[in-house]
Structures are given as C-alpha cells and as structure tokens.
C-alpha cells in the first residue's frame, strides 16, 4: 500500500484525545439472571473504556456475556451494580444513545435498501429528505449504487451486511456498537468485509466497540482488545494492538501479529480449561440415577 510509506509503522497507538472523558466507560458492571438457586451470574465487575475515535474489540468464548454487555450499554437491561458513562455523563439504563449493528443484517424486508439505511435516523426524528440524500451518498460509497430501490432479499449476504452498516453509520449517535457483524458470512466475504471496514473506519474514525470471537479479526481492526472470560464474565486482559494506522493489508503476516494471536489463543484455551474444571467441580457427576437435591 502506498500510504504505508507516508506513515511509518511506529507501533504507537493513535493519539487518544481527552482521556478524562472516554466516549464510553463501563465501571464495575455486574448482572445476574434468575433468582435463588437458579441464579446465574453473567457479568462480574466488567470495566472497560472506549476512547474518542478509538476502535476497541471484545473477544470472549461463546457463551460469555457479550450480548448482555451490549444490552446493558443499549439500556435494555439495568445492571445489578456499576455504572455506564458516555463522555463523562452517567447514562445507565438510558436508551437510544448508541448506533448499533446486529449480528445478522436484520434489514426490514418491506423497506427498500435506502429506506432501511435511513431507519435509525427516522427513529431519531431527523428530516427524511436530508437522510435519504445521505443514504444515497453512502450506499454509493459502499458499492451499492443502483440498489437503492431494491428490496433486501435481492441482495447477497455481504451486500446486506454493507447496507446494515450504512444504516448504523448514518444514525446520529456517535458511538458505534458492532455485534459480531461478520459472524454469519462465509470466510472469503468475511475477509473482504474486514478490509472494507478497516478502510472505511480509518477514513472516518468513529468510536467503535466491536464484538467478535475471531482473534484475528480483533487484531486486524482494533486499537485495543479486551479479552473476556467465560461466565461469570470478567475482563481477563487488556491489550494494546501495536500496529499503526492505516493498517497494512498484510499485517496478518507480521511475525508480531502471529505472536500476539498465539498468545491470546493460549490464554483463551487456558480460560476454557479453567471454565470446564469449574463446571465439573460445581456440579459433580450425580449418582447413577442422575438426581441431586
């Protein structure tokens, strides 16, 4: 890439503006579901921050409380303990402050692509003409020119995902939550979409919280990565990704990249093993007949 020569890969992270008021701050969040004996502790003291214009990933084994964290941020559930702050203000339990991209595109089948793209702005009550103009501009930028009036079922999975991304991008809230956005795509499309997102983000620099269970994806895209444990979920480790911006396409071949990837992989494996022993100790195999009071 030509851009690489202009900006040396110096290993320093992008400058974080105003560290005093990060875009998002989760402070000691705890959450359980159920009651009494059947109570399941899902989150236990989860604290993390996303700085202004920072791309932060959460990786965790499946079944860790990633979606619960998102639901808490979105204000759909109240935390049992802890606080959520955005730009220094306490926003725990408040809805409508984030823009969001779910795992599957979740485009509304009765809306054309452009009408889907403006949905979040519509919900926020912004004027339609302006939103539509923006949507057309962005759809063209992501390679969906000519599909503005098409219905979602006419598009391939990758194209739908791009439309869903435009919808999230156009929503007026600055903070972007991406919940395993490429999880449902095939490997090749996924790789394409990662490169595409990388280029797009580097040109726009919104604050992003990215949820994934692909280590490689997290390392490729993020400034920082939080490694989550299994239930009850804690932050196991916080990790600064030592590659500069814009990130080279072949960064995945860098020996340091491979080293980091292996390190995280080992840590996750240890965590999984620990989880399994804990599960065995908590519920020793019951007698022959399988009941236990």
């Amino acid at each position: 890439m030509a851009l690489m020569q202009e900006r040396p890969q110096d290993g320093t992270p992008p400058a974080q503006t105003a560290p005093a008021a990060p875009c998002l701050e989760l402070d000691g969040l705890a959450k359980s579901f159920g009651r009494g004996r059947r109570q399941v502790r899902v989150l236990e003291n989860v604290s993390l921050t996303v700085g202004q214009g920072e791309f932060v990933s959460l990786i965790g084994p499946s079944g860790s409380g990633k979606s619960t964290i998102l639901h808490l941020i979105g204000g759909l559930l109240p935390p049992d303990a802890g606080a959520i702050r955005m730009e220094g203000r306490e926003v725990t339990g408040r809805k409508g402050l984030i823009s969001y991209m779910p795992q599957s595109a979740a485009l509304f089948p009765w809306r054309t692509i452009e009408d889907n793209a403006v949905l979040a702005r519509e919900v926020a009550g912004l004027p339609r003409a302006e939103s539509l103009a923006l949507a057309r501009e962005w759809l063209a930028k992501v390679g969906l020119a000519g599909y503005e009036r098409a219905y979602p079922h006419m598009l391939s999975g990758g194209m739908q995902q791009r439309a869903a991304f435009v919808r999230a991008l156009l929503s007026p809230q600055e903070f972007l939550c991406l919940d395993e956005p490429f999880g449902a795509l095939d490997a090749l499309t996924r790789q394409d979409m990662q490169q595409w997102l990388l280029a797009l983000w580097e040109a726009n620099r919104r604050s992003v919280l990215f949820i994934t269970h692909s280590i490689e994806e997290a390392l490729l895209l993020s400034d920082r990565v939080y490694l989550l444990s299994g239930k009850p979920t804690r932050v196991l480790r916080e990790l600064r990704v030592p590659f500069g911006r814009p990130r080279a396409e072949d960064v995945a071949d860098d020996p340091r990249f491979l080293e980091l990837k292996r390190e995280i992989y080992e840590e996750m494996k240890r965590e999984q093993a620990r989880q399994e022993t804990a599960a065995r100790e908590a519920a020793p195999p019951a007698g022959r007949f399988g009941f236990r009071r």
């Binding site: 979105g74 759909l76 809805k95 409508g96 984030i98 969001y100 779910p102 979740a106 509304f108 919900v123």
Partner: protein, 260 residues
C-alpha cells in the same frame, strides 16, 4: 408466458367442472328426475339467462350490503387487533371472550338483532361484521406476534419507542397475515349478507332464494347459489389484487410457494 401459465392452471378445474356438468345433465335426463327436485344444468343456465335482469337488481342490493358489512367488519377487526396488541393485558383479558363470541350461533343471534335494531341496515351490517371480524382479528394478532426478534432487538437497541416499534416493525410485518384474514372474511361476508337478508329484506339474493324455495323453483335456487359463489370469488380476487399492490417486497419464490 404469464398468460400461458394462467391458462395452464385454469384448464384442469374447468375441464373437471364441465365433466361434472355433463354427468349431471345425463343423470337428470336418464333417470327422469323432476326439475323441482334437481334441475339439469341446462335448465339452470336457461333460467340464469332469462332471469338475468331481475337477478341483477337483487344482486346489486346484496353487493352493496356485502361491501358495507365487509368494510365495517374488517376495519373493526383491524382496530380490535391493534388495541388488543398495544394495550398491555387487553389481549389476555379479551381473547377468550372473542373466541366465545364466535361460538354464538348466528342463526340464533340474528333474529335478536332484528328485535333490537329493527329491519333497517344496521342489524344486517352487525350480522356481517360479526361473521367477518373474527378471522381478521386472529390473523392480524398472529402477524404482530411474528415480528422478527432480531429486528425487535435492533429497534430496542437504537432506542425506538413502543409506538415506533409498532408502526415501523409490527404493523408492516403483519400485513401478509392480515391479508390472509381478509381473504377468509371476504368470502364469509357474502354468506353473511345472504343470511342477513333472510331475516327481513325487500331485495337481495337471500330474498330471491327464499321466494324461489317457497315456490319450488329449484332452478332459481341454483341460480342464486351460482351468483353467491361468483360474488365471493370476485371479492376474493379484489382482495388478492389489493394485496399484490400493497405487498411488493415479498421475494418471488415465497409468493409462489404461498400460491401452491
């Protein structure tokens, strides 16, 4: 291409119908069945043609009644479904009552309506409304429940209000279901109109039927039946057309599957 498909799907039932008519005609003439018991198709056709102008007047009255009753009934159905869905707890409280209301026999209720509301238009519209609002309520409520949970969670995450979720997600998502309900109640409404006319009316296919029966003009009863079937089919077709116009977003394959 499309025309050929239509022709291809139409000729087998038409051929079967023609065959049935021929068998019927043969049976009537072979066994010498009296026409007041079972008139031959030929005779029915003859009566249909010769009595066309008289019938037109009766049918016009029935059509007006049907359309009025159907509109009132389906609008009531949609409104009831929306209220039951949006007001928390309303559905649990009233849904069983709705089902009970459908088990009250119309034949028993209709004379009561005449006693309460006289012989005007009102009791007749009430009869048709009662007949056709139920399928619409059930189908629409079902449609509201079918809203995709991922889309619902998306709407919640971006901070949509209850009303926004209803207008932008649940209502458009329920339209295909709503139309299934309308198709059923559309065909019911013609029958409802005929029953309403039996209970006291000056004109209408129902009245014509009563007169024909009491004078043993079985051929005329059959003509009335043909008219009722034809009206139901036309109404069904109109609803189908409206559905096609309003719901254009369905993938072609799914629409085809539904037709099969």
């Amino acid at each position: 291409m499309k025309k050929r498909q239509l022709a291809a799907s139409l000729w087998p039932p038409l051929a079967a119908l023609a065959l049935l008519a021929i068998l019927w005609q043969l049976a009537v003439s072979l066994f010498g069945i009296a026409s007041w018991i079972l008139p031959s198709p030929g005779r029915i056709a003859q009566e249909a043609v010769s009595g066309f102008t008289r019938m037109q007047e009766h049918a016009g009255s029935t059509i007006r009644l049907t359309l009025l009753g159907f509109s009132v009934g389906s609008c009531t159905g949609i409104a009831v479904a929306c209220l039951l869905h949006v007001i928390p707890g309303a559905k649990r409280a009233l849904y069983p009552l709705l089902i009970v209301s459908q088990n009250i026999p119309m034949i028993a209720l209709a004379p009561l309506l005449m006693i309460w509301f006289g012989f005007g238009l009102l009791p007749k519209v009430i009869v048709i409304t009662l007949v056709c609002f139920f399928p619409v309520v059930i189908a629409t409520l079902d449609g509201f429940l079918q809203a995709d949970p991922v889309m619902r969670s998306y709407m919640n995450m971006i901070g949509a209000t209850r009303i926004q979720i209803f207008r932008k997600l649940e209502w458009p998502g329920a339209l295909p279901s709503l139309f299934s309900g309308l198709k059923i109640s559309g065909t019911y409404s013609v029958m409802g109109a005929v029953i309403a006319e039996w209970l006291g009316s000056e004109k209408g296919i129902g009245v014509y039927m009563l007169l024909a029966r009491s004078s043993f003009r079985t051929d005329r009863v059959f003509v009335a039946i043909v008219w009722i079937v034809a009206l139901s089919l036309v109404l069904f077709g109109l609803i189908l057309l409206l559905e096609r116009l309003l719901i254009r977003w369905k993938p072609a394959s799914a629409a085809n599957k539904e037709r099969e």
